[in-house]
Each structure stands twice: as C-alpha cells, then as structure tokens.
C-alpha cells in the first residue's frame, strides 16, 4: 500500500522540523546564545567628585597647631617655625626638664605631640591620591593593625580615632581634607622607680589629639568641631551573597564567551589588593574562559553587622572609583546603587571593567578578547555592561535581597 502523498509529505515535514529543532537546541546548548541581546552602557554624570589635593603652600606653619594647645598638652616643646608637613613637640616633666629624647628615670613624665600632613600629591604607584586618602581612613585597614578605630564627626571630611598604646604609644586621630590626610598622635610614658613604664592614659591622650586636630583642620579651612557620634543602623545588607557563577544566565555567558567553561578563578588585581590589605574582606570570582574572557567577582564583608556593612562597601567602592580615574572612568546609570565603567587597566590594558555596588556587595565584571585578538573598546565595554546588568537583575530580584 502506498502512503497517500499528503501523508508522506507530512512525515518528511515532521522529520525536517525535528532536525531544525535539534539544530536550534544544539546551537543554544553549545553556547551560541544568539537570543541574548547586548546592552549598550548607559553613562551618566559622575556623582563622585575627584578629591582635591593640597600644595605645600596650603600647609600652615607649625602644622596649624596653636601655641595654646602646645602649652597645655606638650609644655616646653618646640616644633620649629619652618615646619609645615611634619611637626613634633617633645615635653618632659611638663617642660621643667629640658632633654630631647633622653633616657628617663623614675618619676619622669614624657609626652610627645606629633602631626603629619600628607598633601596627596604623590600617590602610591598604580593608585590615586584620592584612593590612598580614603584607604588611610578605612576602619577595616586599621582593624588589620590590631585595634579598631572609632569614627569622629565634624572634623575635616571624615575622621577616625584610635587609642592603642601598643601600636601608637598612645592615641591617634586621623582625618581627611579632600585627598590630604593629617595624622595627629599623642604618645608618651610615665616612668616609675619599681614598675615598668606606663603608656600615656587615654584620659590624657584623647583630649590632646582632639584639640590639636581641631587646630590643624581649622588651619586647613575644614570642619574643626570633632565629636564622637554613635552611628545608627545603616541600610540593610544582602541576606545571602550568591556564587558569582550563578549570576550570569547561560545564554548571556554563551553570547559573550562562546564554548567557555566556567571556573572558580583568582580574584582580579583590582579587588585582590583590597583583600590582601583589609581585614574581613571576602571575594569570590567566576570566570568564563575561551577565545573571550568574562569574569564576575563579588566582594563583601560577611562579618559586618547592619551598622557597618553598607558604609564600608560604599567606601571600598569609592576607593576603587578613585583609583580607576587614572585609566579614564565613566559613571554609569541604572546599575546597582552606584557604578562606573573603565577600560585599559593594567596589566593587559585591553580589558573592560564594570564595577558597581549593590547594598553591601561590590561587583566587578571584566570582559576581554584574546591576547592576540583584543576587543575594540566599545565592544568590550558593551559586553561587560551586558553581563553586569544581568548580575544586578539576579542579585536584586531573586531573593538575595
């Protein structure tokens, strides 16, 4: 029996349809991902103004510390009128004993007031003056050194106080004015006949650094009314930080880095430097490596409570933003709470980076071509931004928030 022609046609048509479906599925599974559209970056005005540096002429004589303050806290000390960036007053027995840093005996009381002002004109290699200044005031960086700092309000742009006899010999108050950083230290020891020397007590050191720092800030034309104000609860951090590999849909990864295998990868240099120097900073990187390279890194501090989590992430974002200015940074709109794009950062100078902060998590997306076939700047930035948009959608809309 011959099949009716119409039926044979239907069988052939069904086979052809099955083959077509198989081809489409294969392309999608193999990572063609033609359906995932690319998203052009949406740039906006930079909401993070560059921090101002000071020149040597901006520095006041004797670092700006008033004579009355010296008389009260380091009587008999002399800094020298020509000093502007580094001033020190040494006082022994309230000025009654004149001996500069000599061996002391029982009954002696030694006090040292010291001010160091960094103008921010010589940043660390590969970083920026603004980034250096922000890092100098980073409470997490001070935690690494042993004793956490306390935030001081009303002094310069921001200020941090620490009493640590073991590390500083007394109290230290560090404050920032633009990209300039001033550090005021009050140290010293009380010598006893039959006991080990005692470091200067906090009840003496704290008012000394507050008074001297107010003098310096006033001379730099910055806010000069320091106060300890307890921080209230900050914005809510993410409930759960996901694995970065789970933030980029397969079709998007396939479109940007076809046939790539995703792996857990080393943290990129921009974040690795922060992880190495800041206490408690966690980072997790996922990489899709093939002819093109895509990576997503999440950085956050898992052990911070609601008071500190978002403010510290905001600071880390700003440090990164400041450092990225060297390679040309453009602020982005509608991506996380704040975002920027950069292209050409070391080491290969052919990689696009999109960095954004969402609540307490910093997200860094990098995208580049092969070493011998680099991507044009616009293509690389569009790829990185496309991936970043999808990571933000996953972070903000899938229960992690």
């Amino acid at each position: 029996m011959r099949l009716p022609v119409s039926r044979r046609t239907r069988v052939i048509a069904a086979l052809a349809a099955a083959v077509a479906v198989a081809v489409v599925l294969t392309v999608l599974v193999r990572g063609g991902g033609a359906g995932a559209p690319l998203v052009a970056p949406r740039y906006g005005p930079d909401p993070v103004p560059a921090l101002r540096t000071l020149s040597a002429h901006d520095l006041p004589p004797r670092c700006g510390v008033r004579a009355a303050t010296v008389r009260r806290y380091a009587p008999g000390g002399h800094a020298g009128a020509g000093r502007r960036a580094h001033c020190q007053w040494y006082s022994l027995n309230a000025g009654r004993k004149r001996c500069g840093f000599c061996p002391s005996n029982g009954g002696d009381r030694e006090r040292v007031l010291e001010v160091v002002i960094s103008t921010g004109t010589t940043p660390t290699l590969g970083r920026s003056a603004g980034g250096d200044a922000l890092r100098a005031l980073d409470p997490a960086g001070l935690v690494t050194a042993g004793t956490p700092g306390r935030t001081v309000t009303g002094l310069g742009d921001e200020a941090l106080y620490r009493y640590s006899p073991a590390l500083d010999g007394g109290a230290t108050l560090t404050f920032r004015v633009g990209a300039a950083v001033a550090t005021v230290t009050y140290s010293g020891r009380d010598f006893f006949t039959h006991r080990m020397p005692g470091e200067v007590p906090e009840k003496s050191a704290k008012p000394a650094v507050l008074a001297a720092a107010a003098d310096v800030a006033g001379a730099l034309h910055a806010r000069a009314r320091p106060a300890f104000t307890p921080a209230g609860p900050g914005p809510v951090p993410l409930r759960h930080v996901p694995r970065p590999c789970d933030l980029v849909p397969g079709a998007v990864a396939g479109r940007l880095a076809a046939h790539a295998t995703r792996t857990r990868a080393p943290v990129p240099p921009a974040i690795a430097a922060a992880v190495a120097t800041q206490s408690g900073l966690a980072a997790d990187t996922c990489a899709w490596d093939a002819a093109r390279h895509l990576s997503v890194t999440l950085a956050w501090r898992p052990d911070r409570g609601r008071t500190l989590a978002v403010p510290e992430a905001t600071r880390l974002y700003r440090e990164s933003h400041e450092d990225a200015r060297a390679t040309g940074v453009r602020a982005l709109r509608d991506l996380g709470d704040q975002a920027y794009a950069a292209y050409g950062a070391p080491p290969d100078q052919r990689t696009a980076e999109v960095t954004y902060r969402y609540r307490d998590v910093i997200v860094l997306v990098t995208y580049s071509g092969a070493t011998d076939a680099p991507l044009p700047r616009a293509t690389a930035l569009t790829g990185a931004y496309t991936a970043a948009v999808h990571t933000f959608a996953a972070l903000s809309g899938s229960g992690h928030a």
Partner: protein, 404 residues
C-alpha cells in the same frame, strides 16, 4: 505494511542512518574496561571544628598567670574577631618569667582569599601552617599527646620553651621565657620549670576551647624507611590506557608539578611525576614520599594525605547547582579518596574540573592522579563520570605498579 515499503530507497537510507546512530551510540556508551562503579568506603575523617573567635585573654586563667608571671600585666595585640589572630603577653619587672600566648585562626572556602592555594577547608589551611611551624623547629620539636588535635613542644631558640597545638582551624602557641640568669647547675631545673609553665598555659587555652587539655610527652616514633621511586611515573601508565584517555598522539613527559602540592606539608619530599597531554585532555600522576617531621603526629605523607582529603571534602562547585562528587574509597592502597568538583581549577593549571584520585599506598607512597579537560581545544568537556573513571583506572594501575 507490504514488503515493498521497506525497499523504497529513502526508507533504506533512513534505516541505514538509524543503524549507524545506534552503533555510534553503543561505541560511545561502551568505553572499555574502565572500572566502574568503584568500591566506596566510609568517611574515616571526623568533621573539623571551625572557630570564628578567640577566647578572652587568649584563654589563660588568672591562677596560671599568677603562678607563672606574678604581678604580670597583660598586653594584647589584635583581639577583634575578624582579625587573623591575637597575642597576649604577660610580663612584670619583678617576675622572672614572661608568658606569650598567640592564637591564630585560619579561614578558607569560597569568598575567602587564600594565598596558599585553592584549599577550601579551614582546618586543612591550619594544618599547612602547623606543619610549617613544625618544620621550622624541626630539630627541637618533640611530639605532645593529649592537647588539641595535635601538639609539639620545642625550645624557642633562646632561654624559653614553647608548646604549640592545633585544633580545627586554630593554632595556639604558648611561650614561657625566663628572664633570670642561671648557672649550669640550675639550668636543668629551670628548663623543666619553663616546660611545665608553657604546658600549663597551653592546657588552659585548650580547656577554654573545649578540646583535649592534658598534655604529656608522646613517644618519638622512627621515620619510615625510605621508598625508592622510579625516575618517571610514565612507565606505570599502560600505553592502551594512556591512548584511551588522551588520544593516540598524546604528548608525555616526566616534568610536571604536583597540582595539589600548594600549601603541602611534606618536607624534603621525593617525587616522580608524569603528565599526558592530548587534545582537550590532561592527565597527571605524581608519586611522593617523605620522612617524618618530629613535631607532626604521623609521617609527612600521611599528614599530607589528610590535608588533601579535608580540602577535597570541603570544596564546593562553582555554582549552587554544580556537580560535586567526593568519596572515600576502599580496596585501593592503604587509604584513598576520589573527588570531582565542577569549576575547580588549580593555580597555574589549564585543566578545568579535574577528577582527582589520591592514594596512600601500603608502602608509604602518596599517589595523586588528576584527569580533566583542557578548554580552548574544540574538544567536548569530560563528563563527571568519564573524568573520575579515567583517574581511577590510572590510579589502580599506578598503585599496582608501585607495589610491584
């Protein structure tokens, strides 16, 4: 349906195609004598403790301070929970001793930047550090039992004694130093007093952590007899297996680093290695033997096996939905495990998601086999089963060869 239907040309072509697909599928499914399933064993390694904070005053009690450093005042460095460690030191002008206790926490896993390697077990990271401390004090270290998970005592290089122990991811050291000068006659009594003082402080710390706190000298065991290794491990991999796993034109060579050696605990190890590299595939075999570091509770190879075991057991895949496989094995050497973790990649290695089979042979050789995909070559990635079966098949033959 009449016979004429089956003899139509398009039906014959379709039938031949279906037959060819069936044959190809059968060839792909039947992969020859690769051993699967493997004999699995129970997990013999207890779960490790993961400390997140250190006890107040480093765990040393006031009576201990009063006895060891009368009138001593405490100086602390660090002490915030998120810091890597804390040091507490008691000293006084009148006292004849100074006590320094240092507690160090090690953290590992996703999200934690770990400079020593891809490790994911905090306890394994602490083992690496503990082994390094034991190696540093190699000549003077004496094993101590009854204190934490493992402990040793040593001279501190000067006129002092130190007791170091590890429990989970925490390493504690208690150093008791005399500030008095003694003649030759009094030295022995002084050394005994310092040793007892360091032990007492260390026991206080251990008690505050809720771990074994009764230190006593352990027997010093001799180092294992040296094992002769071949110049290269390549001769232990049968040619047919090599061809099956990496293709007929695979490149082979003896020079390769052990991909799992980062942060390793084997001092002065002797190794023999082999790599086999074919299209999209890379196989490595490393044989390692070692001696015995005096401060470690077991021979170096056994210690390193345990460190790797803990790391592999803790390693998560790159995705919450990623493939992960870890099992202790039985019937392969003295002890063995196999692991596969999607997205795993070792520093400096091109292989993605390598399956690993690690064996400690009865003769004291650590055999490490890795087998995985090299991307960018156009070859399909290995499946989880293919990777593990391949690594296991090689480990089986290599262990037999080492024994023979």
């Amino acid at each position: 349906m009449p016979d004429a239907f089956w003899f139509r040309p398009w039906v014959r072509v379709a039938g031949a195609a279906v037959l060819a697909l069936l044959v190809a599928g059968a060839v792909l499914v039947w992969r020859g004598p690769l051993p699967a399933p493997r004999p699995l064993g129970r997990d013999p390694v207890p779960a490790e403790r993961d400390f997140t904070a250190t006890p107040p005053d480093c765990g040393v009690t006031r009576p201990a301070v009063a006895a060891l450093v009368p009138g001593g005042t405490l100086t602390r460095d660090g002490g915030v929970p998120e810091a890597d460690g804390v040091t507490c030191e008691w000293s006084a002008l009148e006292a004849t001793g100074r006590l320094t206790v240092t507690l160090t926490l090690r953290h590992a896993g996703p999200g934690v930047a770990n400079a020593t390697g891809p490790g994911d077990s905090s306890a394994a990271a602490a083992m690496s550090r503990y082994a390094a401390l034991a190696v540093e004090t190699r000549a003077q270290a004496r094993p101590v039992a009854g204190l934490g998970d493992e402990a040793f005592a040593s001279r501190d290089g000067g006129q002092g004694r130190e007791v170091v122990f590890r429990t989970g991811n925490l390493i504690a050291s208690a150093e008791y130093v005399a500030t008095e000068i003694t003649g030759r006659k009094g030295r022995r009594a002084l050394e005994a007093r310092l040793q007892a003082g360091a032990s007492r402080a260390a026991a206080d710390v251990a008690r505050s952590l809720g771990v074994p706190a009764h230190p006593h000298a352990a027997a010093v065991r001799p180092a294992p007899a040296p094992v002769a290794l071949p110049d290269s491990a390549c001769g232990l991999i049968p040619a047919d297996l090599r061809k099956r796993l990496a293709g007929g034109d695979a490149e082979t060579g003896p020079e390769t680093a052990d991909p799992l050696a980062a942060g390793g605990a084997v001092a002065n190890a002797a190794t023999a290695a082999c790599f086999v590299r074919g299209p999209g595939r890379r196989l490595t075999v490393t044989l390692t033997t070692g001696t015995r570091t005096p401060g470690l509770p077991v021979p170096d190879v056994d210690y390193e096996y345990l460190r790797r075991y803990r790391d592999a057991r803790a390693e998560p895949p790159v995705s919450a939905h990623g493939a992960r496989y870890f099992h202790a094995l039985s019937g392969l050497g003295d002890r063995a495990y196999e692991a596969y973790v999607e997205g795993s990649q070792y520093p400096g290695e091109t292989v993605v998601s390598p399956a690993r089979v690690v064996v400690r042979t009865h003769g004291g050789v650590l055999v490490t086999v890795t087998y995985g995909t090299v991307p960018d070559t156009g070859s399909d990635p290995l499946t989880e089963d293919d990777a593990i079966n391949g690594a296991y098949a090689v480990a089986l033959r290599v262990v037999r060869g080492v024994r023979g």
